[in-house]
Amino acid sequence: MRVAIVTFPGSNCDYDLYKCVQLVGGTPEFRWHRETALGEVDVVMLPGGFSYGDYLRAGAIATMSPIMDAVKEFARSGGPVLGICNGFQMLCECGLLPGALLRNRSLLFSSRDVRLRVENASSVFTQEYQVGQILRMPIAHAEGNFHADGETLDRLEGEGQVLFRYADAEGEVVDSANPNGSARSIAGIVNESGNVMGMMPHPERAVEPILGSVDGLGLFTALLSHFSPLGAA
């Protein structure tokens, strides 16, 4: 699995993602935002961080980068695109995913472990999880409050586009487990055709026991087994 990790001025989870892709046996390659082509890759990932300092709106300025045309083209042709944190914000800003990410309702940056309940395990990203499975991983963001109008939310739920919701340790989707005020506790969604995914929590920070959790691994091994069914490195 060849993965293009697109980096922008201010990306800061690019290297973490690189290491994580390597860890599961994929082949990561960085693409600088000024480039115009992605090259021969199987997956595109937009890493977390503070592209352009989160100025204006998180992720907004980055969507103006030259490489984003190539990313949109890749997505339109069905290639899997994964945006994490700032990457999720970019995907919403450029219209590849519906909705927007507003400031956390606490108005504070929030950094801690959250629990996610898997809502749909049939997407290419979540096929290694079970519906209802509880995953633990860190969040670290100030603008992660997912917002969309009621109609859009209904559609997302109806079409199985909600992949993860914030939940408590028992798997209950309760308001006290919602770290940022996201509508219907949504933590991660996929587009209609199932190939563009965005999520606020950081699965790449939950891939080794020393980091406190390995629950994020499934996301990457799912992609890997999709592209390298033999698990080849």
């Binding site: 001025p9 800061n12 989870c13 100025y55 940056f109 950094s111 670290a140 340790a169 020393i210």
Partner: protein, 766 residues
């Protein structure tokens, strides 16, 4: 008493005509620039003529306390600075130690107290920015931040405003650059009411061979200004940081420096790439006193001279004078010495990161710091006397009578109390000094870079080193109340606690950086505090074999004549040999045995109990038996290395009861109960809440108890099993001979984790 090094200029300085519009040099102007008449005389000697206004500004900045260390240098020379693992001691942007596997750790702490008192958000943010630059200019990639914070009591709206602004500033800056915060301290006491303490520490990792210094090597090499443009921000910040805060200084406050962490992130990547490229010979942050200090210090260190042209410095605003450009403290700027012929490569590398690099001068061989404005010279000063010739002073130091009285206060009446202490205990657990600081570090990214093995909330933060079995640990410690009551004992305690925190996570303490936050050193009782603190630090650091590789002095932390508690913050780093040795502070398993290492005493002086329950800052602070402490630390380290422990946590503020509670509650996710019996024949209050040093609470499987106790004994450390870890619903219970303390774990959890959020929520600023 003045120390006058030989300041006879080696080279003659040419005469420099004043610029049009320059004010005349008068005794008042000299005084406004913070130079004493005798210091000014020295300036006249060095130059052999009257300085221009621009030159006066340069001397004023370089000979300020902040850059010149005039009241601290002599005492600081008493600190131990050498060890086989020290690669770079004090004097550079950051200290560097060898941590094995060809790797080196650069680290340093720095204060931003004054800017944070005026504008808490920007003050704290730019403090983090500065310390990051100090580390990456050594060629090291920052891997962790710690922040050591002190404020007045949270019942004041002004304090809440300062506290929330500082925390947001520390967080926003580090989060944006992408450096995890792994620890720090947050302390509240009316002793910091008007003058918060904001110290930030950074750790950076590099290959030992990649070390680069801030030196202007190679005559003829171009000097380049890199990064952000120069504006009129913070002109004379260095002098400002060397004055007391008064209403006056708030009124004529200098322009606040605004941080731009996004530019910093680009500057970080560009600088590391520059250093790797081999196209530069030196690099230094333009920190306090901006271009002036970076250029002259780089020249001073190499023994060369520099010549810079103000017309070539990229500026943000039109019409800036050389005086303003030289003294601007605009953030996110660096001074780079490129190899000759490499200026274009430097520009290219910076361009890739969307930053500017402008050639502003060159290295010369005449030992002079020369500033031009196009064709004409506006300042010419011998570099060495400018950077090293600042007169240093040793002052008179006397303990204040008032503090001595507090220290000698009779506290024996507290030994008679035997009533139920459950309420007092809950009150202590919700004191913001003991309560969880998760409201603080919940705003800091602690997991970015996927290296954090122990996050904030424990005894010390730990970052694993990829590609090796090792990890580094770091902590900051100082109880200003202890130091206030007895500066020497308190400072020894700070060093001991830092080292103890490190061994608790499984790290061998290796080196120290320090931030000395004090009042006005010209006052004898402050100078006394300073001297005693430095002597205490020297003694303890020698014994723990943790040399001091750098630090920072912040004087004049006073508001309306009242000084803060003397606060010598110890930033200590350690090395974990094997990540399997990493130990955390939380109890793990029901049924585990709880062991106390070290002795309880009848000491209650200087405790959080007295502050919270009696509104009292009094008594002798707990003393440290240095040899006993060393034995304890070796023992704990040995236990972690043999994998005997399920948890380790040192006893500090709030005493044994609070330490046990912190271990029982952990991060709050799986709180546990305890059943502990204390057979000491000691008065109740000191037994539960006394802060005697040299104690660690560990827990282990019942089968390992003998081994743990044997190891303790071998190091001469008293140890005994005091109880067991219980399920949450069985409660938190301590039985003493004369008292029983029993509380519900849910209540305890609410108090401990809810205290600071509750204080901060229902409360608007005023």
């Amino acid at each position: 008493m003045t120390d006058r090094p030989d300041n006879t200029p080696s080279t003659t300085v040419s005469s420099v005509a004043p610029r049009e519009g320059d004010p005349k040099i008068t005794p008042e102007l000299v005084e406004d620039h913070g130079l004493s008449p005798s210091e000014y005389e020295l300036v006249l000697n060095i130059l052999g003529r009257e300085p221009t206004y621009t030159e006066l500004g340069v001397f004023s900045a370089m000979w300020s306390e902040h850059c010149g260390y005039k009241n601290s240098k002599r005492l600081l020379s008493l600190l131990p600075t050498k060890a086989p693992w020290v690669i770079q001691g004090p004097g550079e942007n950051a200290g560097v130690i060898d941590i094995g596997d060809g790797l080196a750790l650069a680290f340093k702490i720095e204060s931003h107290n004054h800017p944070s008192a005026v504008e808490p958000y920007q003050g704290a943010a730019t403090g983090v920015g500065g310390i990051l630059r100090d580390v990456f200019t050594m060629g090291a990639r920052p891997i962790a931040i710690l922040d050591s914070l002190r404020f007045g009591d949270l019942d004041s709206g002004r304090v809440r405003y300062l506290f929330s602004g500082v925390v947001k500033g520390v967080g926003d800056y580090g989060n944006c650059v992408g450096i995890p915060n792994i620890g720090g301290e947050t302390f509240f006491d009316r002793g910091y009411e008007g003058n918060p303490i904001v110290n930030a520490m950074c750790l950076g990792l590099m290959k030992a061979k990649d070390l680069i210094k801030g030196e202007a090597e190679g005559v003829g090499n171009p000097l380049m200004a890199v990064g952000a443009r120069t504006g009129r921000d913070g002109i004379h910040g260095a002098t400002f940081a060397s004055e007391e805060l008064s209403d006056d200084s708030l009124a004529k406050r200098p322009q606040v420096q605004v941080g731009d962490p996004f530019t910093e992130k680009l500057l970080l990547e560009a600088s590391l790439e520059l250093i790797q490229s081999g196209h530069i010979t030196g690099i230094q942050d333009m920190g306090a006193a901006g271009i002036t200090s970076s250029a002259s210090e780089m020249a001073g260190r190499s023994g060369n001279g520099v010549e810079i042209d103000m017309e070539r410095v990229p500026v943000r605003e039109p019409g800036m004078t050389p005086y303003e450009i030289l003294l601007s403290e605009s953030q996110e700027r660096m001074l780079v010495v490129a190899k000759s012929g490499s200026a274009n490569v430097v520009r290219e590398i910076l361009g890739k990161w969307e930053l500017e690099a402008e050639e502003i001068g060159r290295v010369t061989d005449d030992g002079l710091f020369r500033v031009r404005e196009g064709d004409r010279v506006v300042a010419e000063i011998p570099s060495l006397p400018l950077t090293e010739g600042c007169p240093t002073y040793e002052r008179e130091g006397v303990e204040s009578d008032e503090i001595r009285e507090l220290r000698c206060a009779d506290l024996t009446r507290f030994n008679e109390v035997d009533s139920d202490q459950s309420d007092a205990f809950l009150k202590l657990m919700s004191s913001p000094n003991i309560a969880s600081k998760s409201w603080v570090y919940g705003q800091y990214d602690t997991t970015v870079r996927t290296g954090t093995a122990v996050r904030p909330g424990g005894d010390a933060g730990v970052v694993r080193l990829r590609g090796t079995q090792r990890a580094v640990a770091a902590t900051t410690d100082c109880n200003g109340r202890y130091v206030y009551l007895n500066p020497r004992v308190g400072t020894i305690g700070a060093v001991a606690e830092a080292a103890r925190n490190l061994v608790c996570v499984g790290a061998l303490p290796t080196a120290v950086t320090n931030n000395l936050n004090f009042g006005n050193p010209l006052k004898p009782h402050i100078y006394y505090q300073f001297r005693e603190a430095v002597l205490g630090m020297a003694e303890a650091c020698k014994l723990f074999e943790t040399p001091v590789t750098g630090g920072n002095v912040s004087f004049y932390n006073e508001t309306e004549g009242v000084a803060i508690y003397p606060t010598p913050v110890i930033g200590m780093v350690g090395v974990v040999e094997d990540v399997d040795h990493i130990t955390r502070h939380a109890f793990q398993d029901v049924g585990d045995t709880i062991i106390l290492l070290g002795d309880n005493t009848d000491h209650l002086g200087a405790s959080e109990y007295l502050y919270v329950m009696e509104d009292l800052v009094a008594g002798e602070p707990p003393s440290v038996d240095l040899l006993g402490e060393r034995g304890l630390q070796h023992a704990v380290l040995g236990m972690t290395q043999q994998g005997l422990l399920h948890s380790a946590h040192d006893v500090s503020e709030g005493g044994l009861a609070c330490a046990l509670a912190e271990s029982a509650l952990g991060s709050g996710e799986h709180p546990l109960g305890i059943q502990v019996t204390l057979r000491d024949s000691l008065p109740t209050l000191p037994l539960l809440f006394g802060e005697a040093q040299g104690r660690v609470v560990v827990s282990c499987d019942a089968r390992s108890v003998d081994e743990v106790l044997t190891l303790a004994k071998r190091h001469g450390v008293p140890g005994r099993a005091i109880g067991t870890v219980a399920p949450e619903d069985e409660g938190f219970r301590i039985d003493g001979r004369a008292t029983t303390l029993e509380v519900d774990v849910k209540v305890l959890t609410d108090r401990f984790f809810g205290a600071i959020p509750n204080l901060m929520n229902g409360a608007g600023p005023s």
